[in-house]
């Protein structure tokens, strides 16, 4: 059970003066149950890459397979691909359109031809998944909710399709720190309980470092790094800034303290652990100078 990209390339507007290669010979396998973060600067090919995962784009070269079957061989194949691979775009709240929250979330399941009871049940569990109370919001207009709530309704609309793979493009953009933490807590919870794969495109290194087990760095249409996040932050040969990304704040703080002569492990993430490490580093420093 996997999505497999084999040597795919994608060129926008080929044969015109605007012709631009967005992906170059990318190969990637995403297994069920993985949590993958994708980072890279604007224009590095992240969005082009994820639009291949549910067949919105057809590669100029190479093949995309879902569970071993080529997505683009038969037209019917794409329909099931879109059911299995849910896509939450940037600012998904811009895609809300129904009169009530219930109808908006129900739009996808109804189009699957499910019976009313099944639709009802899926809408309720999807809203619950994103931390919205059915009683409070189901009858309300989605356009009268707060920004964070609208975003959660939009995500619920995708979850209601019960995808096996969930792709999220910058789900926390524009949310305050608290709203961001809530959204991510719900995504993590969903990931842990559902067994689906999550692919998260984000600029926020904190989120990636905390949640993703595997991190991809895109640059100029290629995957330049594929591995656990800590390996990236501590690989001195990689210039993160060239990729338009920055270190998690904790990591850059630890690096600064190191340059000031404190003996610290800069792979730490958790604040409490960092505090303890600083205390013992200070103690070692004092002991050695006595």
């Amino acid at each position: 059970m996997s999505i497999e990209l084999q040597n795919i390339s994608y060129t926008y507007m080929p044969g015109t003066p605007y012709c631009r290669d967005a992906l170059l010979d990318v190969s990637l396998k995403i297994e069920r149950g993985e949590f993958i973060g994708i980072i890279g600067h604007t224009g590095s090919g992240k969005s082009t890459l994820v639009q291949h995962l549910n067949g919105l784009l057809r590669p100029t070269a190479g093949t995309v397979c879902l569970d071993g079957a080529n997505m683009h061989e038969r037209k019917q194949a794409l329909k099931s691909v879109r059911q299995k691979v849910g896509m939450v775009f940037q600012y998904p709240e811009h895609q809300l359109f129904e009169e009530t929250v219930f109808d908006d979330v129900a739009f996808g399941p109804r189009n699957l031809g499910l019976c009313d009871e099944e639709v009802q049940q899926r809408v309720e569990s999807a809203l619950e998944c994103v931390g919205l109370s059915v009683a409070d919001v189901a009858k309300r207009s989605p356009f009268r909710l707060s920004g964070g709530q609208m975003r959660r309704v939009a995500i619920a609309g995708v979850i209601a399709l019960r995808p096996e793979y969930l792709v999220l493009d910058e789900p926390s953009a524009g949310l305050d720190p608290c709203g961001r933490d809530e959204i991510y807590a719900q995504i993590l919870q969903l990931y842990r309980t559902s067994g689906m794969a999550v692919v998260l495109v984000t600029h926020n290194m904190e989120d990636v470092a905390r949640m993703a087990k595997r991190l991809l760095v895109m640059d100029h249409g290629r995957i330049r790094f594929d591995g656990p996040p800590v390996d990236l932050f501590h690989d001195e040969t990689i210039q993160l800034r060239d990729f338009g990304v920055s270190l998690p704040h904790v990591t850059s703080l630890l690096k600064t303290l190191r340059t000031h002569g404190l003996d610290l492990d800069d792979t730490l993430q958790d604040e409490e652990v960092v505090v303890e490490a600083i205390r013992s580093a200070l103690k070692r420093k004092r002991d050695s100078s006595c």
């Binding site: 890279g40 600067h41 604007t42 224009g43 940037q90 600012y91 207009s141 009268r144 707060s146 920004g147 964070g148 910058e170 953009a173 524009g174 949310l175 305050d176 720190p177 608290c178 709203g179 600029h203 290194m205 800034r241 338009g244 990304v245 920055s246 704040h249 904790v250 850059s252 703080l253 600064t256 303290l257 340059t259 000031h260 002569g261 404190l262 604040e271 409490e272 960092v274 505090v275 600083i278 205390r279 200070l282």
Partner: protein, 286 residues
């Protein structure tokens, strides 16, 4: 009277007094967004506004160039009352706004035409328009992209073009409403550097609304909003050293301030006003 970077500035750019503003929901109930807000911003000040979604930040921003007018109270921009329709265009020329999504703010197919859009609408002579476009692009570091197509630029570059378009109107005050929310870290630092430079070199008054605390740290002054009110107001070190209070509002503090507070709790003697990595390093390694 305000003290800005050691100088005494006599003018108040923004004078907000007991400002109230409400929206209406579908049941026609009033939802207060700003609740008796009072705020004076001196000319040349760099003010950061932080607060949760729905705390009233954007509503406040929209009052600053008369996109909204007060239900009660007043908002004076360089002494001009935003409720006076006769002053509307003067107010909007004084305060330039840059919004969140760069793609919603670009109107032309060439960078220089986009920046020229505002001054052209002022009916300025072509030579003056040219001069303003050149100067504005220079200030945001986008001169070499003058003849590029804006939609092919990166997000950070587009936002800098949007800022140049505002600068070409010669505003005295620049309001940025989460203008870096959609950008990658490099784009964010490009925009922030451009804003800091404008503030330092041109003395432009800056109101920066943001969810990124590391941006707020760069300001002269930080205002924290919650439920339509201003609940904290001070320099970044004063505001962010109140870690618990900021947290309870659903906001973050800079990592250095957070670690410093935790170390202090464990009995390590470090000053209360630490908000930057370097400051923490220096305090620990004395």
């Amino acid at each position: 009277m305000f003290v800005v970077e050691g100088r005494v500035a006599l003018t108040i750019m923004l004078q907000i007094k007991d400002l109230c503003h409400s929206y209406r929901n579908e049941q026609n109930e009033t939802l207060p967004a700003l609740d008796h807000v009072s705020l004076d911003v001196a000319a040349g000040q760099f003010l950061a506004v932080i607060g949760r979604n729905g705390s009233g930040k954007s509503t406040l921003a929209k009052h600053l160039n008369a996109l909204l007018v007060p239900d009660a109270g007043s908002c004076l921009v360089n002494g001009m009352d935003t409720r006076n329709p006769a002053l509307l265009w003067d107010v909007r020329q004084t305060v330039g706004m840059v919004f969140q999504n760069p793609d919603n703010q670009i109107v032309a197919s060439l960078v220089e035409e986009d920046v020229a859009f505002g001054p052209e609408n002022l009916g300025l002579p072509p030579a003056e328009i040219q001069r303003r476009v050149t100067d504005s692009l220079e200030m945001v570091g986008m001169t070499e992209y003058r003849l590029h197509a804006p939609h092919l630029l990166s997000g950070g570059q587009k936002q800098r073009v949007a800022i140049a378009g505002v600068l070409a109107m010669n505003p005295r005050c620049l309001v940025l409403d989460e203008s870096t929310a959609m950008l990658d870290p490099v784009g964010r630092s490009e925009v922030l550097a451009a804003v800091c430079k404008l503030h330092r070199q041109q003395g432009i008054t800056v109101v920066l609304i943001t969810h990124f605390m590391e941006e707020a740290v760069e300001a002269d002054r930080v205002v924290v909003m919650d439920a339509g009110r201003i609940i904290m107001d001070g320099d970044p070190a004063t505001v962010f050293s109140q870690v618990e209070c900021i947290r309870s509002l659903g906001l973050d503090v800079p990592v250095a301030a957070d670690i410093a507070a935790r170390l202090r709790q464990k009995g390590i003697d470090i000053p209360a006003d630490i908000i930057r990595d370097e400051e923490l390093a220096v305090a620990l390694c004395r």
